[in-house]
Symmetry: C2
Subunit: 304 residues, 2 copies
């Protein structure tokens, strides 16, 4: 039996899975209150884990963490959303608490592995998973294994540049995929565009709202959504030219932006990839539980 943890920015999920079974033996999701820090979040998931495993002995723990971690040592580098995670030895803490081995990886790797084992990547031996949400990140399965990179930093498709003269990204570069395609940045671009032209700003703007307005015929929203989708498509096409994976899987909130978005992504990717390269772009299958299934898969991968 495997204890699977998904530690997000504000949302944490703890579940128990028996390998070979289709679903969860137990599954609980909690939301952190505003101002929660690493200590609070860690205590919360440990308490939940204790509760769920009281009558179900576990043999291993898999953890998906919403930020960069050192996969080998299980130590968190930091969280971009929650203070206090710097240098916390999350793997060892959980091993000490539960008395079983723990494996920790960042959420994009976990989600890639989850989709590969249990979702839209089944049947392939190589795939690129990309999540397009508040950020844009990716994970690679190559030859049936997670490819983490020499410094375990692979998969940063969000910080590949698609418009060298484009707008400034948080990372300091111009025209990164994340700067153009992520939900919050599309919302920011729409707000800036509306302000610049003196148009009304209809309430709080989010990536989802941009997509809704675009679908409703709002020209500026449509242009921004299309630009984001095109940037993502170019980034995906470039990645496919470089690595030629069997399948590309897109997940995250922005993939729910509707047919216009998908069309634009697919078209830009197809135009960017060389004509002879096979290109299959499909939606993620696991939705919210992708990192949690990934946490399970991290344990199974270790045992392979």
């Amino acid at each position: 039996m495997i204890l699977a943890l998904d530690l997000g920015g504000t949302k944490h999920t703890v579940a128990v899975h028996q390998p070979g079974e289709a679903g969860w033996r137990a599954h609980e999701r909690v939301f952190s209150p505003p101002g929660a820090d690493a200590q609070y979040d860690l205590e919360t998931v440990v308490a939940l884990g204790r509760k769920l495993t009281k009558r179900q002995p576990i043999s291993a723990i898999g953890v998906s963490f919403g930020g960069p971690v050192d996969y080998i040592s299980g130590t968190v580098h930091l969280s971009h959303h929650v203070p206090g995670w710097e240098g916390i030895a999350l793997g060892s803490r959980l091993e000490d608490t539960f008395g079983v081995p723990a494996v920790v990886d960042k959420d994009t790797n976990a989600a890639a592995l989850g989709e590969y084992r249990f979702g839209a990547g089944r049947g392939t031996s190589s795939m690129l998973f990309v999540t397009i949400s508040t950020g844009v990140g990716g994970g690679w399965i190559l030859d049936g294994r997670l490819w983490r990179g020499a410094g375990r930093l692979a998969g940063e498709i969000g910080h590949t540049v698609v418009e060298p003269e484009g707008p400034m990204c948080l990372c300091g570069k111009r025209g990164c995929t994340e700067r153009l395609a992520s939900g919050p940045f599309m919302a920011e671009d729409l707000r800036a565009g509306l302000e610049a032209t003196g148009l009304d700003i209809p309430g709080p703007l989010t990536g989802q709202r941009v997509a809704e307005m675009a679908a409703g015929g709002h020209t500026m929203a449509r242009l921004i959504l299309e630009r984001g989708a095109r940037a993502l498509g170019i980034a995906v096409g470039n990645a496919v030219n470089l690595i030629n994976p069997e399948r590309v899987i897109l997940g995250g909130g922005v993939t729910k932006s509707g047919e216009l978005w998908w069309q634009e992504v697919r078209q830009a990717a197809r135009q960017t990839a060389l004509p002879q390269i096979g290109l299959e772009i499909v939606p993620a299958a696991l939705t919210d539980d992708a990192p949690l299934w990934g946490a399970v898969a991290l344990v199974l991968e270790k045992d392979d």
Copy 2:
């Protein structure tokens, strides 16, 4: 003993190598006359191979081919330079002629493997090799093996887009790395720039000439060389963000463009790669014989 063949556009090399030794037992290079076709080139290298292996029994043949081939079947898709190669079963032909197994791959993969085993990639377990010459192409070593991709089309860094609004590439896209960074295209851009401004065109222009003029203080030549170097650096930085290899190795004629070119490539790559990602960019070590050493390495890889 291994028979190694390097079939280029106009230059072919045939050599015999004893694994474990430092150099070649025999090594001959020939140039095709203008108008040579596949049949001519094949007969030439077969005759050379027969001559070199007369007194040296070989156990396998490795072939680097200057164009896309199907690695599994050893069949050539085509040559972009020599007519008549379409569909020729190069591997089987050589196996029938010499009575030993043959392994065939495209030159960029062979050169990547050659650098990995015998050149600037020794000691790593993952690397990206890029050749910048009449074209721009690449090859990946991941986890100590050549990564060929699901359709065996990986490594096309020359057709990753760095300037979506840039000049048109032969492949039909705009702003491909090859369109900006390859020797002939830099020469074409300089010619067009000189013509447009009514300046003198100083004799035949080549990539090498652009580099010489840039080094000699010619402003337009310098701007074009820098733009090409920057495009390559962005492409390399994006590739590093995606895959995080241990080392990047650059080879091909354009890498002899001098310190200005290397500085610009390294700077653009460093600015594009995320700050925390290690980035080591070094020149290829094997120069002209890289694909030939790669042909040897293809045989050794098969035996691993």
